[in-house]
């Protein structure tokens, strides 16, 4: 017994990438990521098909079709990222696997960061899946490149924001159900302004309201580039809240992870 040579684990620092590797394995080889990506690709395929072939219902210009599809890609890609992120800590807690993870020398901060990064992989794959559809819808009018770059940049900021939000909710939630419900509620609350009548979105208050919400601000910026043909630098201030949201919440993940990753949810031990 115990004849195997241990390679000095008591000195070596454990890297967070060990957890990341396992998270990616669980997500993609375990099948959950593939299933979500499959459903995503079906949805995007249907939207792209309707936008490009149904002449009776298709009252959108080509640029607007690209914008619509890109907005759906960003929205649903962000939603999937949020769902995976919201399951990270509370899911481990519910499956009783968190304790064994906390019993290893790796820091709680590193665990939180690894899970956050793993959740983001879903956005990257979703975006790659969407590339052919955007290319197909936008070919011939010279917006494919701009649409893809804008969609990737804005979608990445929003996905970072939503993944961080999901991980943070998951840290505090007492159960996985609570974590998923709160995260979805948060997402719906952020999307709600996009459904307000246009009158409610005018004036300085409406403008401010749209600008401070990362989702509405990001969506507005993408529309300006893809539909109105704005340059990158025009209206770039609309990117402020997606960038700020992503930076602030992403920075909060390791800080809160180190402090609040516990066997039970809540803020007190």
């Amino acid at each position: 017994m115990g004849s195997v040579e241990h390679t000095g684990p008591r000195r070596r620092r454990v890297r967070w990438t060990v957890v990341l590797e396992q998270e990616l394995r669980d997500l993609w080889i375990g099948g959950r990521g593939l299933l979500l990506t499959f459903l995503f690709s079906v949805l995007i395929g249907v939207i792209a098909y309707i936008a490009s072939t149904n002449k009776t219902l298709n009252f959108l210009e080509q640029r607007e079709s690209v914008n619509l599809t890109l907005q759906v890609v960003i929205t649903v890609g962000g939603l999937l990222t949020l769902l995976v992120a919201a399951d990270t800590i509370s899911g481990e807690r519910e499956r009783d696997t968190l304790e064994t993870l906390l019993l290893t020398p790796i820091s709680r901060r590193d665990i939180a960061v690894a899970k956050f990064v793993a959740a983001l992989s879903l956005w990257l794959v979703a975006f790659v899946v969407a590339v052919p559809y955007i290319w197909f819808l936008g070919r011939g009018v010279g917006i494919v490149g701009d649409a893809l770059v804008t969609g990737f940049v804005v979608g990445t900021f929003l996905s970072v924001f939503l993944a961080a939000l999901g991980v943070i909710v998951s840290l505090f939630a007492a159960s996985n159900r609570v974590s998923l419900s709160l995260s979805l509620f948060g997402l719906l609350a952020l999307f709600a302004p996009t459904q307000l009548p246009s009158g409610a979105q005018r004036g300085w208050a409406g403008d401010l309201f749209l600008r401070v919400n990362p989702i509405t601000a990001g969506s507005h910026y993408v529309g300006k580039i893809v539909v109105d043909g704005f340059a990158w630098t025009q209206d770039v201030l609309w990117l402020a809240s997606p960038v700020m949201g992503a930076v602030v919440l992403a920075a909060a993940v390791p800080v809160l992870g180190a402090r609040f990753m516990r066997l039970r949810g809540g803020v007190s031990e």
């Binding site: 004849s3 241990h6 620092r13 454990v14 009783d96 304790e99 019993l103 020398p105």
Partner: protein, 318 residues
């Protein structure tokens, strides 16, 4: 010699609820220590504090010579099977152990070798590539013990390792526990409800009740300290029954003598002074009276000196 575990006045509170109070122990290297207690006694809290999952509200401790102020260093030196350990159903046993070995800083190659060795050791070599979802409860417990050993720990904490196992599974797990102590030289802290497990496997025992250590010592010390024999069953040849009755009635410390009507030569005697020393003396006096009277004793069995009696006496009295 530095104790493997040394705790001084460790406590854990949740608001006004005291989960653990003034927990003080010293466990030497290589010992198997049984931690007993009724539900809610604080066994799991004590283990979670010592394994750095929970921060103590007060007090200090060292595990494997490392202070509680360096929790990551403690975790490098311990192995733990938590009470309600869950397992990722979609991983194979091999993947699970390899991942945990890497979490302790092992290289990929070393993690593979450790995994193979531990699966072999726990009798899971042929199921290493099966999904954990297909494992029985006993196999999962053995996998959990293997996981607790991936870092060659100095101290191993096992919280209810035989819970929910059939007798064969219990025997297998307890065999592994003994091997961990004897062949690996690790200190083992075994929390359990099963008193027989402690009697058979542990060199020392600690009884917790309502968050406090109520007694500790070797199994026989605790048993005799808390539940000194109050009665005895004895058998003499039937022809000595009358002589034995007279001798026992006259013996100091014997309060009551019952002859079994349907079993000639069988007696149950009750001692008059329960507690630590006197009952031992009373039983000796009873035996001496019988031998002085020329009665041949065929059997003499003290009752109420098992760990289970001690456990009940201590926890019910507290």
């Amino acid at each position: 010699m530095t104790p493997a575990i040394e705790a001084q006045g460790v406590g854990k509170r949740y608001g006004s609820l005291v989960a653990l109070a003034d927990f003080t122990i010293a466990v030497q290297a290589g010992e198997i220590v049984g931690v007993l207690g009724p539900n809610g006694a604080g066994k799991t809290t004590a283990i979670r504090v010592l394994t750095t999952i929970l921060a103590p509200s007060h007090g200090s401790f060292e595990v494997a010579g490392v202070s509680h102020t360096r929790p990551a260093e403690i975790r490098r030196r311990i192995g733990v099977l938590p009470e309600s350990a869950g397992y990722p159903e979609r991983q194979t046993g091999e993947e699970y152990l390899r991942f945990h070995a890497r979490l302790f800083g092992e290289s990929a190659r070393s993690a593979r070798a450790i995994t193979r060795s531990l699966l072999e050791e726990m009798g899971l070599a042929d199921r290493g590539r099966s999904l954990i979802a297909s494992y029985s409860r006993g196999m999962r417990q053995r996998l959990g013990i293997a996981r607790a050993l991936v870092n060659a720990p100095d101290v191993v904490f096992l919280d209810e390792p035989t819970l929910g196992l059939d007798p064969a599974g219990q025997r297998q797990v307890l065999g592994n526990v003994r091997r961990i102590a004897h062949e690996r030289g690790a200190t083992v802290v075994l929390s359990t409800h099963l008193l027989a497990e402690v009697e058979e496997n542990c060199s020392r025992v600690l009884i917790l009740n309502r968050g406090r250590v109520v007694t500790e010592g070797t199994v026989s010390e605790v048993a005799s300290r808390a539940a000194a024999p109050r009665t005895a069953r004895l058998r003499v040849a039937p022809r000595y029954a009358e002589q034995a009755t007279r001798a026992l009635v006259a013996a100091p410390g014997v309060e009551k003598v019952d002859r079994h009507d349907n079993q000639p030569g069988f007696f149950t005697i009750a001692f008059s002074s329960p507690g630590e020393g006197p009952s031992r003396a009373s039983s000796n006096d009873a035996v001496r009276s019988l031998t002085d009277a020329g009665v041949t004793i065929e059997s003499f069995e003290l009752e109420g000196a098992r760990l289970s009696d001690a456990f009940l006496a201590i926890t019910e009295a507290a």
